[in-house]
Structure formats: structure tokens, C-alpha cells
Symmetry: C2
Subunit: 314 residues, 2 copies
């Protein structure tokens, strides 16, 4: 099988400025980033949106990696063209192939330093487990949501999102940058270990498995009828129980949380509370279930098989 590099992406959303600042710093001063002996491809995800300081121009690039869209005969909008360009250049069958994609994002929600994994691919889970073992990062496992698909990292054999917040759109914050870099360096260490045949894995992996999302209550014209309750704001990664304050109407009425039906028992944990960019997606917060999974040896074998094909610099 073909060899390849690790793609490190920042600025997939053009108004998230921290990762692009890091990419530029690492380009100017390669010694600032500990690469663990791996050859990296540093990629500004959406240069046109970055130049405009907007999340995207025509559509969310990080929802554009939908196979049917990518394969369509029409040229498509600017983000779809960019998605195809990234795959043609740095996809696993690209001209300059990459095998792993680490996509560095930031959020206005108080997510801290965290990971988002899409689905249950063994290599992704092994990489996330190694990262959680090193830094204790919480993991949001996103799956089975037909309303939100087409994430960039899904089109590479292994990949995950590093999500750090809270930070406003358009703001570079040194602390957010530091957290992003620590997560990336830990990911590269895990990959280097796997390549060297010495992957350490924890016994268990704690994930927050996606159950669904809640929108704000809205008026008939679509405008919000309530906002996130002040007792819920910034309480990401915490459980939310039946009857807990969830939203607050303009009149000052508290709307309590009702656990979703048909989602099983047990506490529900909230993530991405009041993320600025999700308003237009109809997401005021997402609900998860916190689960501890045994780490399966097959995950690490899959990651190690992949990592052995990762290139060294030069």
C-alpha cells in the first residue's frame, strides 16, 4: 500500500483563527512543533473563507465531504470544489497522499480541550484512546445523525477533530493555541508509537456518545423564543437531568429539560452548548451518553498497520 503523511488542517472554518495562526508559526519556525519523527502536511482548510474571516463562503466545508456530492458531475460551489481539491492533493489516493487527518477547530462553547470522533472506525478509536490516556481529553463520539454528515476527516483512513473552546470567532487566544498544540503533539506521539510497534493503549475509553441535538424554542417566524438558560451556559461535559433549567424565555420563564424519548436510560450529558455557528443548523446544544468502552486490541493493530506507512521527513 501507498505511503503517506499526516495532514494537519486548520481553518476548515474561516473564522476560527487559532489553528491557522499555529500553522503559520510552524511554517516559519518548524522547530516550534514536536513532530515525533513524522512528516506533516500543514494545510489551511478553507483559504478563501479564512481571507474573508467567515466560517464559509457558500456552504460549510466541514459538511461538504459527502461522497454523493463529491462524485456529482456538476462543478458545485466553492466549498465543494475545495473539498475535491483537498482530496485530489492530499487524500489517501491523492498526488501527495496523507493517511491521517488531524483537523484543528475551535468553538465558542466551553468545551475545553477535546476530541470529536466520527463513527467507530478502529484506527480513530485507537488514536483517541491514546490521546485520552496522555491528556485526559473528553471525546464526543458523533454518529448516526443524518442531519450532520460530510465531515472532512471521514474521507481519510484515520482522523479526528481537536476542538478547543471557549473562544470567540475571529479571536486568537494564546491559551487556546497552546491547548491545540498540546493535543496535536500528543496525537503525533501516539501515531509515532503505533508506527514503532509500541503503541500504548488504556484499558478503557470514555466516550460521550451522540444521542441527538436540541434547538432553541422558536416563534412561528423562526426567530428564537428563548435562549440557553444561564445555569446551562458553559456547562459542557456535565450531566443534565430531567427538570434541570435548559432555556429561558424573554418573559423570564425557565423551560426545563426533558430527556429524549427512546434513547435509553441513564444520565444525559450536554456538549456544544450555545456554539455560535450551530444556530443556523438548529442546534442549541447536543446530548450525549457517557460510556466506558473496553479498548479492543484490534483497534491498535489497525492503527499500527496504518501508521507503519507514515513517512518520515526528508
Amino acid at each position: 500500500m501507498v505511503a503517506g503523511r499526516v495532514m494537519v488542517v486548520g481553518g476548515t472554518h474561516g473564522n476560527e483563527r487559532n489553528a491557522p495562526w499555529l500553522l503559520e508559526a510552524w511554517r516559519r519556525h518548524p522547530g516550534l512543533l514536536h513532530r515525533s519523527g513524522l512528516s506533516l502536511e500543514l494545510v489551511l482548510g478553507n483559504p478563501a473563507a479564512h481571507a474573508a474571516n467567515r466560517r464559509y463562503l457558500d456552504r460549510d466545508l466541514n459538511r461538504s465531504f459527502v461522497p454523493a456530492l463529491l462524485a456529482a458531475a456538476e462543478p458545485g460551489d466553492r466549498e465543494l470544489q475545495r473539498a475535491r481539491e483537498l482530496l485530489a492533493r492530499h487524500g489517501p489516493q491523492g498526488r501527495d497522499p496523507c493517511l491521517v487527518a488531524i483537523d484543528l477547530h475551535s468553538t465558542t462553547a466551553a468545551m475545553g480541550n477535546s476530541l470529536v470522533v466520527y463513527g467507530r472506525r478502529p484506527a480513530d478509536l485507537a488514536l483517541a484512546a491514546g490521546l485520552q490516556q496522555r491528556l485526559g481529553l473528553p471525546i464526543y463520539l458523533h454518529e448516526q445523525d443524518q442531519a450532520q454528515t460530510g465531515y472532512l476527516v471521514e474521507r481519510w483512513p484515520c482522523g479526528l477533530v481537536v476542538e478547543v473552546g471557549p473562544v470567540p470567532q475571529g479571536v486568537i487566544n494564546a491559551s487556546i493555541c497552546l491547548q491545540s498544540q498540546l493535543a496535536l503533539e500528543a496525537a503525533l506521539e501516539v501515531l509515532a508509537e503505533a508506527r514503532g510497534g509500541a503503541l500504548r493503549q488504556p484499558a478503557g475509553l470514555v466516550v460521550h456518545r451522540h444521542l441527538g441535538s436540541l434547538d432553541l424554542p422558536r416563534h412561528g417566524d423562526g426567530s428564537p423564543a428563548a435562549v440557553v438558560h444561564p445555569q446551562r451556559q458553559s456547562r459542557d461535559w456535565r450531566p443534565i437531568g430531567a427538570g434541570d433549567p435548559l432555556f429561558l424565555t424573554a418573559e423570564g420563564t425557565t423551560i426545563p429539560f426533558h430527556p429524549p424519548a427512546n434513547r435509553g436510560d441513564g444520565p444525559v450529558w450536554a456538549v456544544f452548548i450555545n456554539e455560535a455557528a450551530y444556530g443556523e443548523k438548529g442546534i442549541a446544544l447536543s446530548l450525549t451518553r457517557r460510556e466506558t468502552w473496553p479498548v479492543e486490541p484490534a483497534w491498535g493493530r489497525t492503527l499500527s498497520d496504518l501508521a507503519r506507512r507514515l513517512q518520515s521527513p526528508g
Copy 2:
């Protein structure tokens, strides 16, 4: 002289969502806002930018109220047209005249609940003094900065900006809304007192007088060469001394603060640190001098003369 109302503006910047949320709530439920017996004109400042969730479309509306621009023969861009429309409708000589403008803003900087006053108009200072007496709000006195002119409130006989943060662009935060409403209600109480001939004023007014602004260090191509130092981030309204950490380069070098020359002696206080929208204006933070001024009786007389012309509802 003509009678008029109090204009309450929100969404002068289209990605500041808290004040527009309040405006909509007060329209639907007028009893939610204590109006102190004053007739209000609730105005969405820049509806087109609000619909696009962008600060502005063509130019910053809150820098567009420049007399020479407003008087120009050319139709101008969308914000200039909107500025003229606001004046034609609700200016002091407008079809539905307003005498006071309270412009509700939010910021990504940790400004708390604060006021911005432009120049030293007596009525503005009396209104600000009354607000400071009631709520203790800090006041940023903006003046003598030729790079930043054309603020909306300057075109009304009396007016000031309520500036609340930190909150990301695009986010409605219940606590930010509450602070905005408290400031507005206090302003209306001051105006009602002045109208009734019973204006209370404190003995002194504490202002943070604008000295100038600092940009980030930049590379030759204009890209940032450093970011706000983590020890400076979120420290608005605090003194910054010679040698204090100011910026941090990508290489990890701390750039210390050097007090500006020819600005007099005494400590310098920072405001609007790392406001997202000011990057494009070349402002990483602004510097002020904290001064206590005696409140002059003439200020209150000017405000009271104006306030007697304010209308009651109905």
C-alpha cells in the same frame, strides 16, 4: 424646540445578537422593559447585516456617521444609505425625531457592563454620571482619534454606547442580555429624573480617557507576528505598567509594554483587549488614563433642558 423620543438601538453591528434579541422581546412584551415614563423608539440598527449575521456588509455602520460622508452627493454603499435613513427617520430633525440615542453593543473583550462616551458633550457626561452613580459602570471616554470617527450616537443631541462583554459574535447569552437591560433601564431613569427636574448627580465622574490604540506586531505581509499575551487577555479596565507582558510571539517571546511617549505621566489602563472586530482596524487593545472629574452643574442643566422635550408614550 421640537419634542422627541429616546431611540434605543441594537444590532448596529449585525453579528452582535444580544441587543436585537432584547429589542424583539420588548416589542412582543412591552412590559418587560421599565421605560420610566418615556416614549421609546426601538430600532434594529443594521437589519441587512443582522440578517447576514455579519458585523456589516460594506462598511462599519458605526463609523459611517461622518458628516462629510452623510452630505456627499453620491448614493454611497449600503451602510451609508442606512445611516442617512436612520437620520431621516429618527434624527433630531427627522420625521419621527429622537433626542437621545442609546446604542446597545456587545464585545468579545472582557469589558463587563460598561459605557462608551464620545467626546465631552455636557448632556452625555451628565447621563453617564447618572448611570455611573446608579450602577458603578466604568466609562471609556473616546476622543481625539482621527482613525476612528463617525459613531452613530454623535449625530443625536445626547447619546452613548452600552458595551457588554465578553460574548462571542453570533451568540446570545442571557447574562449579557440582563446586563444590557439593567444599563438601559438605569439610563432611562436618569433621563426621567432629568425631565422631572430632579436629576441626581454624583460629585465626581471617573472616566478612562482614550490615549490611543496598539496594534499587534506584524510581519511584512501584514499577518500577525504575535498575539495578546495570556497575562493580558481579559484584563480590561486594569492598569498596565512599563515592562508588563503585552504580546507573545509564536516563538514564545514575551513583548513587554512600553508606555506611549508624549502622553503624560501616570498609569495607563487597557480596554477592548482582543476584540474580534478590531483586528481589521489594527487595534489589539486601547490605552486610557483613569481620571476623576468634578461633575459640573452645567452638564445636568443641559441634560435637563434636553430631557424636558422627551415625550411620554401614547
